[in-house]
Amino acid sequence: MLEIKCPYCGKRSQNEFSYGGDASVKRPELGKEISDKDWDDFVYLRKNLRGKHSELWHHVAGCRQWFKVLRSTATHEIFKTTKVNE
């Protein structure tokens, strides 16, 4: 079971959190012109890399804050966790 340090609550076991996927995916701005391809890439394409992966987690059974985790997808080692805007 992963141990994740919520930037608001501190270290907690994984079962308090839910996963939110690749944090590098940025939602295009509302109302802004965007090509079909760029939009579809946003919706469907993922880096899916092996190694350091920036990802979102949600402290659902805690403070209910979303935050970012830098974690190795090869070893599951967590390098750091930060608030979303950090």
Binding site: E3, S13, P28, Q65, W66
Partner: protein, 998 residues
Amino acid sequence: MSQKFRLIKSGYIDREKKISFKFNGKKYFGFKGDTLASALLANGVHLVGRSFKYHRPRGFLGSNVEEPNALVQLYNGAKTEPNAVATTIELVEGLVAKSQNCFPSVSFDFGAINNFLSKFFPAGFYYKTFMWPKSFWHKIYEPVIRKAAGLGVAPLKPDPDRYEHKFEYCDILIVGSGPSGLASALSAAKNGAKVILAEDKPRFGGSLLTDEVTIGNKKGKDWADEKITQLKLMPNVIVKNRSQVFGYYDHNMMVMFERTRDHIENPSQFTPRQRLWYIRAKEVIISTGSIERPLVFGNNDRPGIMLASAAKEYMKVYGVIVGKKPIIFTNNDSGYDTAIEFKKNGIDPLILDVRSNSESSVAKEAKNLKINIKFSYGVVNALGYKKVNSAVIGKLNKEKSGYDNLENISCDCICVSGNWTPTVHLSSQSGNKLKFDDEINAFVPNQSRQNESTIGSARGLFTLKETLEEGFTKGYDLSKKITGKDLKTPTPTSNERIYEQHDKFWCMPLPKKKNYKRCVDFQNDVYVSDIELAVSEGFRSIEHVKRYTTLGMATDQGRTSNLNGLQLVSNIEKKIIPEVGHTTFRPPYTPVTIGTIVGREVGKHYRPTRKSPMHSWHTRNNAVFVDAGLWLRPRYYKQNKETLLEAAKREATNVRNNIGICDVTSLGKIDIKGPDSAEFLNRVYTNSWMKLPVGKARYGVMLREDGVVFDDGTTTRISENHYHMTTTTAQAVNVLSHLEYYLQVVWTELNVNVLSTTEQWAGVALAGPNSRNLLSKLFPETDVSNESLPFMGFKQADFFGVPARIFRISFSGELAYEINVESGYGVFMWEKIMEIGQEMNIEPYGTEALSTLRIEMGHVAGSEIDGRVIASDLSLEGMLSKKKDFIGKRSLNRTAFLNPEREKIVGVVPLDKKTMIPEGSHLVMDENADLPNPKLGHISASCWSVEYNNPFSLAILKDGNKKIGVKLYALSPLKNKSIPVEIVSSHYVDPKGKRVRS
């Protein structure tokens, strides 16, 4: 003939407490402190089981978890336990065990015919045959093979025992209480660290229980006992026996099971059988010791052939001698310990040592004791079908490729010692990539990947002196790092026998013209010839060898066979072992009871049950409940002997004619506050929200970014910056996370907060023509007229002293209201409404009637919003604002979504106006078309329309708009039904929506 192999004294068993047990129907006696294995051996019983494939007679190879042969079935009925390892079962009064995988008995087993035909069943034989004729595999061959395979018999009744979970945190978890584990626990605990010391066995001390050593001025075992007592008294230490750490998971999460019940004679009713510990440790010290390897020779799997270390343990711990005419067959010095122990107990052993000589202190001790030692000798073949009775021994030639001479000598047991394999399972599980240690001919841990340290013989350190030093140092170093304290415990002096290097020779060659079976993996019947065959057929990777021969895949996971198998492959391939590599170590270390892993999440506690505050009222009033996710909701309120359909019709009719009350508490409710709330709603819903006045509700649809409909519901503006959102029961949790995601991650500029209030409000729907009339009586002080509280209106009002919210919204399509009060007043509200509504013929209605009402109105619900439809499929395109952007809008211009012939929601009526169309039926043009028959759409929901008194269904139909009036077939091949139907509008009742506004 009771316990005639029990020594007069020695051993750590309690001779005062005699215990009776049954094995294969026969009654035996043992002592408290025995294992089933030691008690059987005390009674001279060696034959305990049959091998997996050839049903060869088998006895005890080991004395602990390494045991591959002695699997037994414990007890009968619901409490039966298959595949229990006899060497690890503590004897309790009344224990009942029997042999497995044999018929009619372990002594006479029909399956043993396989052994005589074994020539035809080499490794992988089943891949090469049983292919003809085609249908025979599943019908004939497979059932026979299945019946022959398997070991124990599974219980078929629910497990009567309970299992518990415990969560712990500690500074240092130490796995194994041998000398290195004890030493590190002591020095870490004394230096202030919070320590957990876990020992798999009932007794602490590991090798100190059996080795002739002294520490300080005490015997090894006495030192261990004293230190355990000390540790138990320390407040920062948890000491656990019967507790096996079986898994090393991510971020130093260690998982351990503790056996808490089966060894107790009269456990209390609530004593759990086992307890699972999740332990998050800052540091983990692995001091799991090592396991002796067998030597391989002809028929080396016969009962009576066992590890030398096991024979020694039976003598020293249990006071049992495993034979009176023993051969000790070894390639190293540790086998001599066993010989000396025999000798001390008055039995003359014969030592066969494949080495040409040994000058170690222990060898000298043996020589001084006048033990007969034959160097350059080994066992070539063992004889005796159900128990070894003699052996062919041979003097090895110089190259050890054959024999100078062979002779036959009688014996009643053969104790084998092929050197030691470190128990590296946990180290490997932690991510530590093992390296091969050429000196000990085994894998040892290398670089730690987590906060893990492997010490003692688990990393190939075999002298007590070094082990103790390492233990004390490691405990001190790690504790200092954590506690910052600096109290060092000195390492005591110690005395031990000195061993010399072992000989790497381990597999006896076949004499000329002999083709003895030489066993590598005992339980799975993998022999030297099988591994040779696999390699010769091109299965050269060790993983291929393992899978083709099943080497190491038995319940003992190859603890005594993997390394021998590897050595064999490396010999055949003429590669060094590290090039061959090893198979992966995965949890669990030994098989773990499923109940232990599951814990208390069983039966009704499998998942939580969510109940509305009015649940007790529903129960008292004959509600029949239905699972809606985790919620239990009244499906209908049963009257007399009516069926579900009859009840649904009655309840729905009463809504249409009078008034009904429905518990809608389970709907998701989200409180939304903040100055940007309107803007936020405008982005998450597809329709416009900027102009919703205070005191008004609006229906909204949410999409996922891929354009698919996510959820729907109403949101009400309570005050300027305060909204109350409702979601479907199914999506309540997901919608909240979704909103939080957009607020916290995407649109951080918006000043909005969201909070789930699902459980804070009890909600009821009042629906039917009488509902306003009733409402006026429930809220006499409040103006509930159509003008003051119009459709989609909202008011806060006083409900007999309780603050309430009134929403004029309708799912049933009738004039309807929803009332919310704080949860604690739910029953009060419900009962008051029932009381006052009685004169207007109020009746409660459940989800079935609710479905009926919404279906005939053409309102969509979960069976239509199934995560695969877009808004226009549900005729909700009018909800899609053209003026603003919203979540998922950009996806809506995809080719497939713009297809004018896309699916559309429609109504479906059977032509005979009688036959209910089963949900899940498909609509087709031609009921008799060739398969695959093109499907035009499917029936998503069906009801008996109470308005028209005939069946009515909703369907999602290709090009549905253009098919109104068309006649199709609704096919349900599963129910053998073909129903001619006509497509109609989905708005079957009150298509203009007059009633809700009336």
